[in-house]
Amino acid sequence: MPDKQKIYISLPGKKNGLIGKNTLWLGKDHLLSIHSTGFSEHYRRFYYDDIQAIITRKTATGKICNIVLSVLGGSFMLAFALTSGILSGFYGVLAGLVIFFLLINWLLGPTCVCHVRTAVQTERLTSLDRLRTARKAINLLKPMIEQVQGALVSETLKDYNNQ
């Protein structure tokens, strides 16, 4: 059986929203962003030749979630300690769940927002919402862009004016 070359290679990162999920794929000459609702898929393509910049910014969302979950977990644990019987069991289960989600959130690392900029748009890459994932994805994406555009030489940066 002949080897089938993959048309698209999956990039790290998968963002599950209320309505659908977002994924990123590396194509031969473009980056493909797919928003899937289960019954349909919607595509956005960013051609490597058009990508001017990728901007990643750390956000406080992860930290805020940690704080909220910690307070919630602490409250449920306190309720668990102060009550008895079935109610105590109920609070114990809730506390366990909250602590589980807190652990997951902490392990996933800091959150971020990632944007790709072209000459006509600055579009958010929704699936890259964790810094660790964004780094991995950008490390895979950069060589593809540089293969088409060439590497940026330091002399060219001098054309970038500070105003």
């Binding site: 019954f39 910049a53 990643t56």
Partner: protein, 189 residues
């Protein structure tokens, strides 16, 4: 001269010092941790569109869509002569606007597709979810069989995948239909 990049939080212009650093740096305005990877396209001058030339002599070929303009290239799909304005350079092919639109409508030019329906997912969900409530399967099972047969050859996800969802949906729906037939048969007896 390159366009300046903006911080995505405070929209302040980012200086040279925050560009192409492998680690996170700080926006000079709001202090947000930011990393900006830039590429040569940022410094590229935007090329103007080619103006189409006016037809000067009768022995020159004219554009199919603009008879007064000189043809410069034929369409790779339909062969019509095109002027510089009508020529759409796409995926290393020169196409006329009509062929481009046709390619998008008939899904022959993959890169123009902006959405697709996932009939395999629909069929599987329709086969599985109503089974929880039992009674709706009397309606949904034949619908699943219809969807599988009708849309078997329809393009699925743009990411190539097998037809396992269609097959599973068909098997589940077939079992549901057989069960209902047995139920009706037992009632009839």
């Amino acid at each position: 001269m390159a366009d300046l990049l903006e911080c995505t939080k405070c929209m302040a212009m980012l200086g040279r010092e925050v560009l192409n650093t492998s680690e996170m740096t700080h926006c000079p305005s709001c202090g947000a941790e930011i990393r900006a990877d830039i590429f040569p396209a940022l410094f590229r001058e935007t090329a103007g569109g080619d103006p189409s030339e006016i037809l000067l002599t009768d022995d020159e070929a004219s554009c199919f869509y603009h008879p007064g303009k000189k043809a410069v290239i034929p369409c790779d799909a339909c062969g019509r002569f095109l002027c510089a304005l009508c020529d759409v350079d796409f995926n290393d092919r020169h196409l006329c606007p009509t062929c481009l639109e046709t390619g998008k409508r008939k899904h022959t030019i993959k890169n123009l597709e902006i959405s697709r329906k996932l009939y395999d997912n629909m069929a599987l969900l329709l086969a599985v979810f109503p089974a929880i409530f039992l009674w709706p399967t009397i309606i949904t099972a034949p619908m699943v069989v219809f969807i599988v047969i009708r849309y078997w050859e329809a393009p699925g996800s743009i990411i190539p995948r097998t037809r396992i969802r269609f097959i599973l949906a068909f098997i589940i729906a077939s079992v549901q239909i057989i069960v209902w037939l047995m139920v009706f048969y037992s009632w009839a007896l």
